[in-house]
């Protein structure tokens, strides 16, 4: 049993730096129709987008905060004190050379250009509201893969963009998807043509540099029939004294036989409210897989979902959450079975350290007259300290015969015997603890691409440092 409280901030410091703001476009503080018009003007939105935003703003204002089930901490968000749009007013650059110096230094410190050279098929880097860098390897571009910012996507490829935009996650899905729909800026638009299998991952990196700021990127990924794609996103923000809001909407569409893998390593600083809506639509025999790792933020509420619309579609969520002192990781998954023989799998592991709280919230829905649908859900929680907290709130609906759904959850702690055993063999208590925790999440960490899984292991080791006394 480990009693002592912890302070863990070692790895967060990597992203904990900020440069002076040099924005030329600033929508000011607070949210009104004026803010939305300002954003639409700057972005030169087509009329339908402006209309879409205004509608969404009305929906956002009319919806109550979901505090009847969610954390009361949401009430700490003061929408009137947030800045909704900040940008340098330039187009994203194709080469790191052209990116402004301080922005470039930001991403260099985070190691993004290096990673791109090493193993990525394309990178987009977003700084506050807009992408500053966007590049796709020539070979990938020649296969017909489109990888641009959402604003370019809606202007340059309206025929594909409009067909799916807002269809997987309607504006009114929840209060924060409505907020995003009103003020969205940045994020990626990706289209992979039929049969194209993108070998290396595409990556987006989201950086918040400004204080009192809300980042609302919007990502839409479409994998056409038989296409395959892996997309990764990372994020950081410096540690300001005031709360920052990040509220993204990510929509994935996997057409017949397509496969999309979406990987997130979320490492926001401890004052970011991370309220994200992510959902994929899987057509016949398609597969959507979310691999989600939440380490940072003050409060994360994120339940990646898959709507299995076509026969034999498959959905999967692999989730790791690490809740340190003062953090609440409210994560989970939604699996909606809407066709025969669809299968879904949810594996969630969480670790609560110090006063950290990890929550699993899940939804599995199998409507009637479907045959041979299967869901498997496993949630394991590890409690490190006496004052750590973990919750599990699944909701499972099954109708009719011919479907099988199982849910299992367990809560445990690192056993004293394990620690003792390792200490006997010369490890310090901290090393032993770190090893145990890494062992707990190891099978999930291995699902991340090599470069990420090594990084992740190191991150967990660092997070654990000092958690034992």
């Amino acid at each position: 049993m480990v009693k002592q409280n912890t302070t863990l901030d070692i790895e967060r410091n990597l992203g904990n730096f900020a440069y002076p703001e040099t924005h030329t476009h600033d929508a000011g503080v607070g949210l009104s129709e004026k803010t939305v018009h300002y954003i639409s003007d700057v972005k030169q939105d087509p009329d339908w987008v402006r209309e879409f935003r205004l509608n969404a703003l009305r929906t956002f204002l009319s919806k109550p905060m979901p505090t009847h089930w969610a954390s009361k901490d949401l009430e700490a968000i003061v929408f009137d004190k947030i800045r909704y749009y900040l940008s340098g007013g330039t187009q994203p650059k194709r080469s790191w050379e052209d990116v402004p110096d301080d922005v470039k230094r930001t991403f260099e410190r985070l190691g993004i250009p290096e990673q791109e050279r090493k193993f990525l098929a394309g990178v987009e880097a977003q700084f506050d509201s807009e992408a500053v860098y966007s590049n796709i390897k020539k070979a990938v571009g020649e296969q017909g893969v489109i990888f641009v910012g959402s604003a370019d996507g809606l202007k340059e490829h309206p025929e594909i963009f409009r067909k799916w935009f807002g269809k997987v996650i309607p504006t009114g899905d929840n209060k924060f998807s409505a907020l995003n729909s009103a003020v969205f800026s940045g994020g990626s638009f990706i289209y992979v043509p039929p049969g194209v299998k993108v070998k290396h991952p595409l990556q987006a990196y989201f950086r918040i540099n400004a204080e009192n700021f809300g980042q609302f990127e919007r990502t839409l990924i479409i994998a056409d029939e038989g296409a395959e794609l892996t997309y990764m996103e990372g994020c950081t923000a410096p540690k300001f004294n005031t709360a920052t809001l990040h509220s993204a909407v990510v929509e994935l569409v996997a057409l017949k036989g397509a496969k999309i893998q979406y990987i997130t390593v979320q490492n926001w600083s401890n004052n970011v409210f991370n309220l994200v809506t992510k959902r994929g639509l899987a057509h016949e025999q398609a597969e959507v897989k979310w691999i989600d790792c939440n380490i940072g933020s003050r409060l994360t509420m994120k339940y990646p979902g898959v709507v299995m619309k076509g026969r034999k579609a498959r959905g999967e969520v692999i989730s790791i959450a690490l809740a340190g002192d003062g953090q609440h990781q409210d994560t989970g998954a939604k699996m909606v079975h809407a066709a025969d023989e669809t299968t879904s799998n949810i594996i969630s592991k969480s670790i609560s350290i110090g006063t950290g709280r990890a929550t699993y919230r899940g939804l599995v829905h199998v409507p009637k007259h479907l045959k041979n649908c299967k869901n498997n859900t496993e949630c394991d929680a590890l409690l490190i300290n006496a004052n750590s907290r973990t919750d599990t709130y699944p909701a499972i609906t099954v109708r009719g015969t011919g479907n099988a759904v199982q849910h299992e959850a367990s809560v445990s702690q690192v056993s004293a015997e394990q620690i003792f055993y390792m200490q006997q063999r010369g490890l310090t208590e901290a090393q032993a603890m770190s090893l145990s925790v890494n062992g707990f999440v190891n099978d999930l960490v291995r699902q991340f691409p090599m470069e990420y899984s090594v990084e992740l292991k190191r991150l967990i080791e660092l997070e654990m440092e000092g958690s034992v006394g």
């Binding site: 973990t390 909701a395 099954v398 759904v405 299992e408 367990s410």
Partner: protein, 450 residues
Amino acid sequence: MSNPSAVLEGMSEVAPEPSGILGGRPGRAHDKLPAWFGDQQQVAWTQFQSLPMPARTDQAWRFSTVAALDLAPYATAHPPSSSEAREVLERSTGLGKTAGRLVFADDHFLERDVLSEKLRAAGVIFQPLERALIEHEDLFRRHFMSQPATLGSAKFAALHEAFVRSGSFLYLPRGVEVELPLETFHWLHTENAAIFPHTLVVADELSKVTLVEHFRSTDRQRAGFACGVNDLIVGPGAKVTYICTQDWSDRTLSIQINATAMARNATALNLHLALGGKYSRLESLSRLTGEGAHSDMLAVSVGDEAQEFDARTLQDHAAPHTNSDLLFKNALNGRARNTFGGLIRVEPHAHFTDAYQKVRNLLLSDDAEANSMPGLEILADNVKCSHGATSGQLDEDEMFYLLARGIPAPVARQLLVGGFLNEVLERLPDPVLVAQLEELIVGRFERSGR
């Protein structure tokens, strides 16, 4: 056997005119009831009126058909005529050998089989509520409605408190063990009758008892409303087994609010068998307040046609070294719906808790529906907790095995469903009780003819 008036020795029933329950609280049921009781009922009535009706958006009522909770048609009922009472008593057969029995119809006390001289001499009290109110006022008052309804039905608990006029009070003094079970029957009789059965069990240190309650309707076609509360107060080292068999008519709306408080080293086992009713909701709270307390929460439901069952549970661990184990099994046919919302809550400092929760749904038709919300909230350390929920159907291989041996399909299905549910019943220590419950389940299968 004795007649009711003799039991209540000179307590004349005022017999208020039956009234629609939404129209206001009825007058006093008996002229000798203490004033505090009437006052408390009045306060509860005000509370009922001020609390909002449940809405679909309330987390505690998620997936539940709240539209079913229309109370307008129901009214309190006159006492049954003596011939009706005789018929009800004849049908009040349950366990056979019991240590005592109370029978109620439409909230009117009909009869009791008296406790043996030995148990009475030992200080065991088993009597109707309206009598305990007078004869054991302090003891009764200390525990009456002392556990708030926290699982969504605060409004209905208030309604119950405002209207309660009958029920059972069971008290066991320190160290007294009652070998044979005690038994009660609550019957719904008049069309659209509203009843508010109350059960209060207070088991003092190291005592031991089993109470079996039967909730039934005299006519399967008649509508009715039952809003019951049963509170079990289990003292240090005491052991209480509480079994409730619910077989209301197909047109009954029922809400049963159960709370069990367990002191140090106390053991409680709750089993709810739900067979009848159109809409029946069970709220069951196990509160483990003393070290070493142990709670078993068991339930079986068998649904067909358009029946709806809604069960909400809380295993509240408020002390270290406590353990609880929940197992709910539901077999659903026709358009039956079941909702389970359960929570294991381990409060801060309740270290070394073991808590388990398991829900299994067997879907036997294409229109049956099962909603499961098994939850965990862990705020302590050194805890072993797990929960599981599954929904599935009969195993085809098992069916094939039985069919291959010449067993007709309906019988084979019954055997398999019975076997599925049996795992719950077998947790009961008493084989006689298990056999009786099995019989009730078979009766339910026969009624729906599949």
